[in-house]
Subunit: 365 residues, 2 copies
């Protein structure tokens, strides 16, 4: 079934995993790799990268610097990434030197909101109505297709609500389009969802698949505030979410952990919002509630190890610690539960500084 072209032997303990990106996700990946006796090298363009503190070594370089990337690749048995906006050309360059998981093609699709939506639709999975917005003449047909209100989004480089604007008229679209610098956009119909959810899943290079239980996600100001497992999802919705993830993973011939953000509709059906080709904030609760976390699962997948058991042994609520909230670390430390701080030197408004997970007895498998 697998179309993978870069099958490689498992990276044994003592081998080295390269991680592109040095944020908190890279940091938690490095910590998970260390548990398995694997070394890590981190590549990032930010000298204050939180992941630099917990790895074997790091390269400070631009993601477009092929020379620096080659030097990095020479130190790694396999390379992976913690954020999706790595130039496709850089990944392709790396893939000539060392196995790279997930592969560049999966990244290419999920880096672009239009390609992603088309891909999901072609896989037979529901999404919001959407329409391309490349030039002024797209405004009218897009608004007609998607209705008002709808959301104009840049096709690339958006996260946490950046590069998004709610629009209700052609002049709204024109203003937002100009503000975004007239880059290629997509208009998405407004989805009257009951609540939001996600599914975090892993696919091995042998096509094996393992999905964690699906959390309900609560956002504030476009930023994840908390994830609850099992939340309001029914057993059937939890299963449907995993089925969607399996379809997407297979269709992308994906290797590693990925997340699918979902809208849960009032009629109980699920629509795909977007795909994140990486470990995901809504999966942080797996560190405590599962024997193998999303971070370890990703390391296992990209290293060619057997996937771990995604069963959870507890219910969980994960809450992000944002911006100034991190100044209250001593209060968090007094609460029963698991505190995680990412080692970011500077507190900025809305910045993800850490998270806190509370466990409670398992109420549902």
């Amino acid at each position: 079934m697998s179309r993978a072209k870069t099958l490689h032997a498992p990276v044994p303990p003592g081998g080295t995993i390269g991680i592109l990106g040095g944020g908190q996700l890279g940091r938690m990946l490095a910590l998970a790799a260390a548990r398995l006796g694997l070394k890590t090298q981190v590549f990032c363009d930010n000298p204050a990268s939180p992941a630099f503190h917990v790895c074997d070594g790091h390269t400070l370089g631009k993601f477009e610097d092929f020379g620096a990337l080659a030097g990095f690749a020479a130190q790694c048995d396999v390379v992976t990434l913690e954020f999706e906006n790595i130039p496709a050309k850089s990944l392709e360059h790396l893939a000539e030197l060392v196995p790279v998981n997930p592969r560049a093609e999966a990244l290419r699709i999920t880096q672009d909101r239009l390609d992603e939506k088309v891909f999901v639709r072609d896989a037979g999975i529901g999404t919001a109505v959407f329409h391309v917005v490349d030039i002024e003449s797209d405004f009218a047909p897009a608004l007609k297709a998607c209705g008002a209100p709808s959301i104009l989004k840049t096709r690339r480089f958006g996260y946490d609500g950046k590069g998004q604007a709610k629009v209700a008229s052609e002049s709204d679209i024109a203003r937002a389009f100009a503000r975004f610098g007239r880059v290629p956009c997509i208009l998405e119909g407004f989805v009257p969802f009951a609540f939001e959810a996600s599914v975090v899943a892993a696919r091995g290079q042998d096509g094996s698949f393992a999905a964690f239980d699906s959390p309900e996600n609560i956002h504030e100001h476009h930023i994840l505030r908390r994830s609850l497992v099992p939340g309001r999802l029914t057993i059937a919705q939890n299963k449907a979410a995993k089925d969607i993830a399996r379809k997407i993973g297979d269709a992308l011939d994906y290797v590693g952990v990925f997340a699918v953000e979902l809208f849960v509709m009032k009629d109980g059906s699920l629509l795909v919002n977007e795909i994140a080709p990486r470990v995901h904030n809504s999966g942080h609760w797996t560190i405590e509630a599962c024997a193998v976390s999303q971070f370890e699962q990703h390391i296992r997948a990209v290293a060619g190890w057997p996937l771990g058991d995604p069963a959870r042994h507890a219910d969980a609520m994960m809450e992000n610690i944002l911006g100034e909230e991190a100044a209250s670390w001593a209060d968090y430390a007094r609460r029963p539960g698991a505190l995680h701080l990412y080692g970011k030197a500077e507190i900025r408004a809305g910045r993800k500084m850490g998270h806190f997970t509370q466990l409670s007895p398992l109420t549902r498998k």
Copy 2:
């Protein structure tokens, strides 16, 4: 109540914990510190130290090298240790430069089997019968006091059954004493225990106390094979174990995590075998079964943070991966549960290479 003379303000996130010793315990301490946004510096005399791979920086130096220790201290907000056989003079030297937890006096007592036994007895807690063996003329009275068979042990530097010999006569004692190089020894009466257990507990610099549930420990060839929680301990024995730990922690004015190895007698009573002034192999299951592991708990205690909740949310069985067993890492990776490998370059017979923890639903608080 506290007699601590080195009270210090909490080390805030971003601060640095110094760890003396770079083995697997130091490695897991460094990983736990990273979760809290703390940096780590590791000092060790072994260039192949597993902890060197996951810390911010390390010093390769001898534990007797005061200059190297001073350079190390200058990089740390507080210093702690992962193994007890650090020269007391080195700890005292460090303590003049930077807060050191646990303090040198607690180490001095637990480094010496005779001082430790006297200390435990004076605290009103049961131990095996014991007698000093410094010179030949001690052989007869020691054997008379302890009976035959009994165990001759060096007073210092023993671990995993090293520096121990079973003896049944004065000539047995003479042979073992000569083999140990005539260093100061202690004879301990043979304890006909039902099974072995331990208690891993933490004490904060404010005198706060938190003990994990007490595991049953199964040894093979003097090396821990597995720990089971709750194992065969009754609720009353679990409580008694914690009471013993609290008494010992208070009497030592201890700051940090320590373990008390216990004999569970056929009549249900508990005797103290020995005290380990550090995180302990029999507490590794806390990584998965508790929101705050023994490693994080130790970091919290020595950093002056509030102690975490030691409640466990699952039953657990921890099994050591010893020597050649580590070659079967791929088989362990396929088993449901949590695999930990310590990143040791070389497999040696009996060497602790990793551990594996299986969780099952909580059967008892």
